[in-house]
Amino acid sequence: MRTDTGGDPSERVDAERLAALPPLPADDDGPVFEAPWQAQAFALAVKLSEEGHFTWKEWAGTLADELAAAEARGEPDDGSQYYHHWVAALERLVVDRRLSTSTALDDRKEAWADAYRHTPHGQPVELSTSLSQALAEDRIDRL
């Protein structure tokens, strides 16, 4: 399993930027993720910074603050929660920079949860599907 190259190396995030962060879960070949959402959160921070919404240094600082706060709360410092803190830092920075609001993010989260609850297996989970439409399809599906 170790020799998979994982696609185009040019899309890999350079070691210099990674080194500027509080040490993230990684092995000799770079970052490792336990779940897809972790890789998605990772990609978001990288791209938002590349797009100039914040600098990488600001990102590293926010993440470090979040990790320090967790430590102060007495949470285990074993790396298991690293990406939870990553997401919390990302939300904070996004709100601080007025890229979005906490309310908008919360609402969107609930909308996604609803979409999952009402989308049958095999169909894409989409926010655009209204609840009533999803329910109607569901009924047809079950006839």
Partner: protein
């Protein structure tokens, strides 16, 4: 998508048009991006709705969809990064399960009887409550896993699905002509080997227990973990005997 060309799977002909599936995990507004057609049927299950992902995953999805919508970040660019790490997302757990089954016959029995519980023993179940069924390859039977409807995949044990797994050609052809598909992956099965194709559902995900290759009798469990490939656990490859004491390698 050009980046698929450089991958180990890129050389396989039918996979080339699979790049559309690459966006599956990160695309805004969609979970399974390659799934654009409307299905008129569903799997025969009492509860065939999709499990709601854990709260943290929904928070990430909310961030992403809001920011993409506002044009602050490009979803294709996000996909490219995630795809780059495709093989870096939890892929070794399944290999640990297979290696344990190879060295511990009691574990193997438990694994085949109740995959969910046996994989859970090693701590590798995800938060989405999927049931795992493990199917064993033998000299007489070869198993292949597919999700014909979308791209269900046991990512807590196998990592992110490879691009070709999500592709329409693989999903369709794996059921219609599995031998030809396997042949394109470089796996030519003798006529007398039965091929069983397992179609994943929202509730049941499959993991292939490949045969332990000859010549590995002296290897430790840890060494065996290194030779088990993702492809062998989907059923599109065998586990090869490592040559020259250099375990590992997907090629």
């Amino acid at each position: 998508m050009d980046e698929s060309e450089g991958r180990p799977v890129g050389r396989r002909g039918f996979i080339r048009d699979a790049a559309v599936g690459a966006a599956a995990f990160a695309a805004p507004g969609k979970l399974m991006a390659d799934e654009t057609e409307t299905h008129s049927h569903s799997h025969d299950h009492d509860h065939d709705h999709q499990d709601v992902p854990p709260d943290i995953a929904l928070r990430v999805r909310a961030l992403e969809s809001v920011l993409v919508e506002k044009g602050m970040v490009d979803s294709a660019a996000l996909d490219e990064i995630v795809d780059t790490y495709e093989n870096r997302i939890g892929p070794r757990n399944g290999a640990e399960v297979v290696a344990r089954a190879w060295v511990d016959s009691a574990y193997r029995e438990r694994l085949l009887a109740d995959g969910t519980a046996a994989i859970g023993e090693l701590g590798h179940l995800g938060g989405q409550g999927e049931h795992m069924k493990v199917v064993a390859n033998t000299p007489e039977v070869h198993n292949l896993v597919v999700c014909t409807l979308c791209s269900c995949y046991p990512w807590p044990t196998l990592g992110l699905p490879p691009v070709w797994y999500k592709s329409a050609p693989f999903r369709a052809r794996a059921v219609i002509e599995p031998r030809e598909v396997l042949s394109e992956f470089g796996l030519d099965l003798p006529e007398d080997v039965e091929v069983r194709v397992w179609d994943s559902t929202a509730e049941i995900r499959y993991l292939v227990l490949p045969e332990r290759p000859a010549g590995t009798e002296g290897m430790t469990e840890e060494e065996l973990v290194e030779i088990v490939t993702r492809d062998s656990m989907i059923g599109v490859a065998r586990v090869e005997t490592p040559s020259g004491g250099e375990p590992g390698g997907d090629a």
